[in-house]
Amino acid sequence: MEAPIAVAAVQDALPGAIEAVSYWVGDWTLIVARERLLEVLEFLKTAEATAFDYCSDVTATDWPPRERRFDLIYCLYSTRLRHRIRVKARVAEDEEVESVTGLWPAANWLEREVFDQFGINIVNHPDLRRILMPDEWQGYPQRKDYPLEGPGELLMENPQDWLRVRNLPDEAADLRSGAGPDSEIE
Amino acid sequence: MLDTVVIPLLKIAVLVNAVLVAVTFLVLMERKVIAWAQSRLGPMRVGPYGILQALADPIKLILKEDITPVKADRYVFTLAPIMSLVPALVVFAVVPFGPDPLYYIGDINVGLLFIISVTSIGVYGIILGGWASNSKYPLLASLRASAQLISYEIAVTMTLVSVILTTGTLSLVGIVEAQRESGIWFGFIQPVALVLVFIGGLAETNRAPFDLPEAETELTGGFHTEYSGMRFALFFLAEYANMIVISAVVVLIFFGGWLRPFPNIAWLGFLDLLPAWIWFVGKVFLFLYVFIWIRATLPRYRYDQLMSLGWKVLIPVAIGNLVVTGVFKVVF
């Protein structure tokens, strides 16, 4: 499969930044090192041959056994050249990722959602708060190790216990030792 | 004693009750007319064609729990709806339903000014209701409402001055008599004033398209957001009573009050077979219908647009109208 111009352009301009290029059912994906992510994205947005001025989506995928467990995914589109690309970077739980709100203001809420649901550390974000979950929520629901049965059920069965558990500083430890499910909650 | 105390009191009792009943049916009429405009049936359950809805609504409001918010100023909170309703009812003291003294409580020589001044008291109900609720939306709404009422009052009063120039009297009976003498309703002599007073009236009664103070979709009900039960009902009554007042004023000044159409054409005399007060009430309800019709048709103005309409259009036009009327009065 012939790589489109955009992919070739990045590879030429930023040699080494692209770890891999993948193609699957019509979609092109660039896999980029986390350290060079912002650089690549900036190039994709500004370069003449790519001109990805529209950020469709920012999302993530969690692959727990992996060392760098998260795939951070940017779906980009160019309203001028009308082509799409996906950029993917692997991120570990304790690693930081630069926010792209400077490039695409659209990423503001999308990154907030990624933070909210996955707990990926996004830095230099203007307003990094929980978005879908309540502000005081513990844990990141979209992670694969997030318990499917957990605080919610506990709350329903025994609200007093839940309140007690919630007010303890180290909740995860308490849940593990106590009535909570055997899983990790941050 | 009989003439000075008993009969006026009887008249007042009859009139107040008539107004309150008229208001309940006006609400029903509004619901029905809007429903028809929107290809619905409107209330149909209570009584034949929902006629008894007019009774069901007040009963519901009276029986509802009357809540006073904890942080509200309790006295002012209770006083506000009363201050809103009382002026609306007091105004009817000078509204003549017919030429005969039987049909009015008092014909005072400053009748029109009396109406203007007493309705201007009604604004307190709204301001205080919003303030006493101690809540942000009602406060915003009451500020809006009072600014709106005061500015449109200026326009309406200015316009009425030009009418007074034409009639030469402030007595409402006198104004209608003047129309009989000139043989033509003043609406035809003063069309600009008619439009101005009607628009001003819409604004003063907080009706669409000027219903910002109670804009459901913006301010969640406006100054009476925190009100419920009977106190809410009083606000409601006041609003509709004010509508009737404005319609009555427009009819008295511009549409010949209780006069039949074309009072100067003799062969239309058979129209006099209908009693005068029926003509009057009929015309008033025609205008009320127009109020409702407008509500069903038009979107709502924005606050700044409303104010600029009032100050930059209505008031200058009213002053212009006054000047033109004065010039005519002097020249002819």
């Binding site: - | 400053v110 000014l113 001044s117 007493v118 008291i121 604004v123 005061i150």
Partner: protein, 175 residues
Amino acid sequence: MAEALLFYTLAALILGLGVMVVSARSAVHSVLFLVVNFLLVAVLYVTLNAEFVAVIQVLVYAGGIVVLYLFVVMLVNLKQAPERFSDPRRLARSGLVLGGVVLALIVVVVSSSLRAGAAPEGTLSGFGTPFTSGNTEQLGWVLYTSYLIPFELASMLLLVAMVGAIVLAKRHLGE
């Protein structure tokens, strides 16, 4: 009899409300008492055959000026009433002084009006106008003839006040 009853009732209410205006803790209550006070004064005017002035009193005072007060009170919306900082000793002092002044005034008024028991009949001013009930037209006539210049001056005063109020209350652009 009826007249006296009406007067005493009105007078009592007016004075009572006046006291309430001055003594009310909350400024909004104060404004409310003021409105009712003005309305009652208007009723008093009606009993004195001054319908036009009564209506103007309601329209301008109750419907206009006091609304303005209410607005300002709401805008200012005090967290702490200024009275909290006041000095009780000064209150006592001013109370004493005022009591004396009240006494003196009442004495003066009563004695002077007793002396004026046989007050000059007829008109005081040179522009005597026949006075009947329902005097709006006459009042207008007097206003626009004898008192034309004061009338125009009053209108100028109002204009200046309007401009002044706008200048004072308007926030400067860009602030």
